[in-house]
């Protein structure tokens, strides 16, 4: 039951989220809301030059949005900003692909578990919520550096 949507990996991340809890220091944060269901997330990023030094988050949401934020933390913390943008683009592509896009595990890691979510339009926003907030936060952090 629910196999295609609720992959084991997703349930694991949901039950044991990584990176949860807002942390200091941070350079910028972004708060995003899913108007359909009222889910909210705050994502903080700390940059160290080109490096994503930390990503932390907090919020309320369903298993998909919480697990997705946990995967995001795991995939992007410690990498470069440009790598983060690539991963984010690949994740967005996967989510908007209506189940037609083949995910690349090298790029997306545990993120490939979300492939099934793309077939549930109502849940795509849940999966993307933290990623959109992350993108915003990074843009803000970089804008402030200038």
């Amino acid at each position: 039951m629910s196999e295609s949507l609720y992959q084991e990996i997703i349930l694991d991340h949901y039950k044991n989220p990584h990176g949860r809890g807002l942390r200091e220091p941070f350079d910028a944060e972004a708060h995003h809301v899913n108007p359909t269901c009222g889910d909210e997330i705050t994502v903080r990023v700390a940059l160290d030059g080109e490096k994503v030094a930390d990503v932390s988050f907090d919020g309320q949401g369903c298993s998909i949005s919480q697990a997705s934020a946990s995967v995001l933390h795991e995939l992007l913390t410690g990498g470069t900003v440009s790598r983060a943008r690539d991963v984010e683009a690949a994740f967005v592509e996967l989510m908007q692909g209506k189940g037609q896009v083949e995910p690349d595990e090298d790029v997306l890691g545990d993120g490939i578990a979300f492939a099934g979510v793309a077939r549930y339009p109502a849940r795509v926003k849940c999966a993307l919520l933290s990623w959109m907030a992350f993108k915003d936060a990074v843009n803000r952090a970089q804008a402030e550096e200038l």
């Binding site: 039951m1 629910s2 609720y6 359909t36 269901c37 009222g38 309320q60 369903c62």
Partner: protein
Amino acid sequence: MAEQMPSPLDVDRVRKDFPILERRLAGDRALVYLDSANTSQKPRPVLDALTEHYERHNANVARAVHQLGEEATSAYEGARDKIAAFIGAPTRSEVLFTKNASEALNLVANTMASGLAEDPRYRLEPGDEIVITEMEHHSNIVPWQLAARRTGATLRWFGLTEDGRLDIAGLRELINPRTKIVSLVHQSNILGTVNPVAHVVERAREVGALVLLDGAQSVPHMPVDVTELGVDLLAFTGHKLCGPTGIGVLWGRGEVLDGLPPFLGGGEMIETVAMDGSTFAPIPHKFEAGTPPIAQAVGLGAAVDYLTGLGMTSVREHDRAITAYALDRLHGVDGVSVIGPDSMVDRGATVSFTVDGIHPHDVGQVLDEQGVAVRVGHHCARPVCVRYGIPATTRASFYLYTTNAEIDALVDGIEQVKRFFG
């Protein structure tokens, strides 16, 4: 076993009138449709009326001297008669067709905010107050926020009690001589609460304020008589009332509708048009600009006939029986809390609840995998969620075709949800 109230409806026969209830979902699941507060399903006579209209009588209305035009016009205006009778309107011309309940509510807010009304009773100005409630649907909040912003009037609201009722303790202060209009929901689409309209009307009368009732959830579910209620205006929507999408109704007392300035301009709402100015038709046409939802009015007329045939009192009693059964069964499920009145007093067939530690999205999704269709989220009533400190709810809502077996399927489904995320 839950206690049983008898339903006056022959539900098995009723269900045969709704073709979609035979639908098999993916994986050959049976459909358990518990989302009627969102939109209701449509009985065969409504679908037949639509098809018959398009296949035999389709023409534009109020314009044509030809036979099809006359048939279409009399079908459209005949629907107005049926709606007027259904809600006890004293005059057919007080029934306006809109595209949905939201437009009906916006019509009132918008015309009062336009500054075009001659009579100050129908014109919002700085210092005026508008009163709504914390349990309104967004469609009865946002129009008033926009109206307040445009006019400088002040928006105020009734709060809610812990058990999901309107907090009317401050009634006399909240509705006061500065109040121009009170706009409130008859039955909450998230809590199921049925509001004490008579109290509000009485106080509004004392101070000379208008009362607009949002009947989107009440008109489909109980006998509603505008004369008995004593309100000035009533908004509701076709698609929750066994009717088609694309149609809503605003009823208003003739004097009030006459006093409101025009809303949308064009088409048949005019008396005479010159380039340098126009005069307007009497109600109802004054508020029906452009080609109206003709086939949809015909369909809504058929829906009202269908419901009248069963009897709205029977529909309400069936609702009550199902709701009592549902509340009773949900009480038996560990971790489930009902948001809204937890008894049968002044409440309708809509039950919102939370499941401990499991987000409504996940509840809804796993229910869907079992064929049980509920709504999850803030149900276009986010302030209610904020008030009760929850992000969202799961909502099961019932109608004349809902069976006890479907409630059982819901309860089994919730147990499954708990096992899955446990």
